[in-house]
């Protein structure tokens, strides 16, 4: 009999808050439903909006082990589920022959001792509920995606030599996707769906404050405002992610900045925009004056920032 570990919606929300994961109510509700209904949750969104972080944070909140399966092209069940330790089996046969022992039984060779446990099997066999993070599922091949169906719908895996292994504790499964390709309907049907977008300015300020200690209120607001403005640029090849915002804010704090201006943004731009074409686009279309305009700082007077003059 599987025991369902429950957590209330309010506890989940406060857990998110404690761990510094700022999200809106509908996100918390979707995660709560996934936990309650014991269904995997598929999170889509642009890179760097906090999809993978959700898995880590959930493991933290539920005090569970985080088991991560990073997907890539060519990933197969030997890397995701299990593999027999072929070399060890061969050595055992050779040793037996050399020591002239009794013939070994086939069952001995296909026992736990020779089984290399991979993330999916580990999550299924875990005696305590684990959080299984299947990261960037859109990067794996469609064949592997189909293979995941059994794990995601029945929480069991089949190993020909051992039979079907049901989950001891149904893991919390978090799948993430950058939407590089359309996932199959079968996979989507088995999951609850959550789309994470880039946060609004207010929310990003909360994230910055929650994650970076010692950040000035004004700096947090200005950082978020500049990043939001950059994300609006349609021609940008790579929009700055939340992780990059945080790195940038950290760098500004270590430079003893308490506020921003166009010069400071231009001189630390490579922390936010990481391709040459994006930096050129910034210089051409926005520039120092553009940033100052966004920050509402008139060039002739007003409450201007002195940090860049230091």
């Amino acid at each position: 009999m599987l025991i369902k570990m429950t957590i209330s919606l309010a506890d989940l929300k406060s857990g998110f808050k404690k761990t510094g994961y700022i999200c809106d109510d509908s996100t918390a509700l979707t995660v709560y439903l996934a936990l309650e209904l014991q269904k995997p949750i598929l999170i889509e969104g642009a890179p760097g909006v906090g999809k993978t972080e959700m898995g880590k944070v959930l493991a933290d909140i539920l005090d569970s082990e985080l088991i991560r399966l990073q997907c890539y092209e060519g990933l197969d069940e030997t890397k995701a589920l299990y593999e027999w330790n072929y070399q060890r089996q061969l050595l055992r046969i050779q040793m037996n022959r050399a020591l002239e022992k009794d013939q070994i039984c086939e069952d001995d060779l296909f026992s736990d001792h020779y089984l290399l446990e991979r993330p999916l099997l580990k999550a299924i066999r875990s005696s305590k509920r684990a959080v299984l993070l299947i990261d960037e599922v859109d990067k794996c091949d469609p064949e592997f995606e189909a293979f995941l169906f059994e794990v995601l719908s029945d929480f069991q895996v089949s190993i020909p030599e051992l039979g079907t292994i049901p989950a001891k504790e149904i893991p919390v499964v978090v799948l993430t996707s950058n939407n590089e390709r359309e996932l199959s309907d079968g996979l989507k049907r088995r999951c609850l769906y959550l789309y994470l977008d880039f946060p609004e300015v207010e929310k990003e300020v909360q994230i910055i404050k929650a994650r970076i200690s010692g950040v000035a209120d004004r700096l947090a607001w200005e950082t978020a405002r500049v990043v939001a403005h950059l994300r609006k640029q349609a021609d940008l090849r790579k929009k700055p992610s939340i992780a990059e915002t945080l790195d940038w804010a950290r760098a500004l704090v270590s430079l003893n900045c308490s506020c921003l201006d166009g010069k400071m943004v231009a001189s630390t731009l490579n922390l936010l925009l990481k391709t040459r074409s994006d930096q050129q686009l910034f210089n051409r279309d926005i520039g120092i004056q553009g940033v100052d305009r966004v920050l509402g700082q008139a060039a002739n007077g007003g409450d201007t920032c002195e940090c860049s003059k230091m």
């Binding site: 919606l9 309650e36 060519g74 061969l90 309907d185 609850l192």
Partner: protein
């Protein structure tokens, strides 16, 4: 009391089932699993909160970001407060009455020798919504025909066809005007990403010049996505080939012949060629340009791409269009500098010329993509040339910008569709669907 609770539960389930039907009707893939999940979700949330209720349904019923706005709209329309619901019902009844009066009036207007013209309710409705001057002009035409010399009662079907085609013309004009108005009102919103997603379903012909940057962004986005698909399919996994026994034996000599490490043969990959043939008659200009732009965005993965425009002759655009040109540039190039621009379409002649001059490009690895509305001179000749060329190459994909519901009206569409796989491509969404997984 028990009975009451039961009725309430059924009420919610029934309502949800109707709502799911509505979502399905609009093309959202809502299955039984989603319905069960939604109902289970409702048992663990506070359904008295509208936002929570909506978020729970969205998480369980909608599995795609692009479907979320549609879901939101349908939800807001379907789940309304009781007062609003009553008000809407009254409005619907009123509208129905009004419509029925309009239809009666329209039918009375359009009579030929005392008999009603055989027009569908849709056509009558369209007629009654026309501006008065257009309605009067149709009425005048019907009356003049009726009062003409030697007018027989057998003229009625002819008159009906004329009225129907006039209404069709008005409809297409209205569509173009609406699109232009939409563009004007949408200008300056600044949300290019949102705009470009909306363009997915808009007829390419009606996309205005001011919307081209947004369309270009959408084309880029879709082609990036498709490039990833193509690359992924081509790259072989570590064990995708067959076991290489020779290498396995040689590599494991160090273990005394025991095969510890298995070696696999790399997967064979053939180099595919794509040959794009674009009809550049006046009605086809926009469609052809969009397809050219879309495929040229794929230049990193589809390197062997040749492009030709055709009308009654063939023009090689491959070299001219290499390089990352904007959609506007391509449109200008196709119109102003193409030698084939403005000629009558003769597919047969174009295919024969392709076969004679570019015979080296036609082999078993070639996929030919033809963008045309099938309206060609000498159809039989074109069919023969198509069959002949089909034998030499891997496949022919025909992208037809005519809306699929109009295909039965054209004999040429039916005959060509028997020979090749034909896909509608009147908007960017259809273009993506037609080429996805086929390159």
């Amino acid at each position: 009391m028990q009975q009451n609770v039961k009725i309430k539960e059924q009420y919610l389930e029934k309502n949800l089932a109707v709502f799911a039907g509505l979502l399905r009707q609009e093309g959202l893939p809502v299955g039984t699993t989603e319905m069960i999940d939604a109902l289970r979700a409702l048992t663990v949330i506070d359904i008295s909160s509208r936002d929570t209720f909506k978020a729970a349904l969205q998480a369980t019923l909608v599995k795609n970001k692009k479907d979320q706005p549609l879901f939101s709209r349908l939800f807001d329309h379907y789940f309304v407060p009781l007062d609003e619901h009553r008000k809407r019902n009254e409005e619907v009844l009123l509208q129905e009455e009004q419509l029925s009066r309009q239809l009666e009036q329209a039918a009375a207007d359009l009579k030929f020798k005392g008999e009603l013209l055989q027009l569908s309710n849709e056509e009558l409705k369209q007629y009654s919504n026309l501006p008065p001057e257009k309605r009067n002009s149709i009425q005048d035409f019907v009356q003049q025909t009726e009062n003409g010399n030697r007018v027989e009662p057998q003229f009625k079907p002819i008159l009906e066809n004329v009225v129907k085609s006039h209404l069709r013309y008005c409809r297409s004009q209205e569509k173009i005007e609406n699109s232009a108005a939409g563009t004007a009102s949408g200008a300056g919103t600044g949300n290019i990403s949102g705009e470009s997603d909306l363009l997915r379903e808009v007829d390419i012909e009606t996309i205005a010049a001011s919307e081209l940057p947004a369309a270009e962004e959408l084309l880029k986005k879709l082609s990036r996505k498709m490039a990833v698909q193509i690359l992924r399919r081509r790259r072989s996994g570590p064990r995708s080939g067959k076991l290489d026994l020779r290498r396995s034996l040689r590599d494991n000599m160090q273990y005394g012949g025991l095969i510890f490490n298995l070696k696999y043969k790399p997967k064979h990959r053939s180099r595919e060629q794509i040959l794009l043939l674009c009809d550049v008659s006046a009605s086809m200009k926009n469609y052809s340009t969009f397809v050219i732009h879309f495929l040229y965005n794929l230049h990193e993965v589809v390197r062997d791409l040749s492009c030709f425009s055709f009308s009654d002759t063939l023009e090689d655009l491959t070299d001219v269009l290499k390089g990352r040109n904007s959609l506007q540039f391509l449109l200008d190039r196709v119109i102003r500098h193409s030698k084939t621009w403005g000629g009558g379409t003769d597919l047969g002649a174009a295919l024969r010329s392709l076969e004679e001059v570019h015979t080296d490009r036609l082999n078993s690895k070639t996929t030919v993509i033809i963008v045309s509305d099938t309206k060609t001179m000498a159809l039989d000749d074109a069919l023969k040339a198509l069959v002949k060329i089909k034998e030499k190459i891997k496949r022919v994909i025909w992208l037809n910008p005519l809306a699929a519901d109009r295909w039965p009206d054209y004999r040429s569409v039916g005959l060509i569709a028997e020979q090749v796989e034909m896909w509608p491509c009147s908007n960017i969404g259809q273009l993506e669907e037609a080429l996805s997984g086929r390159l």
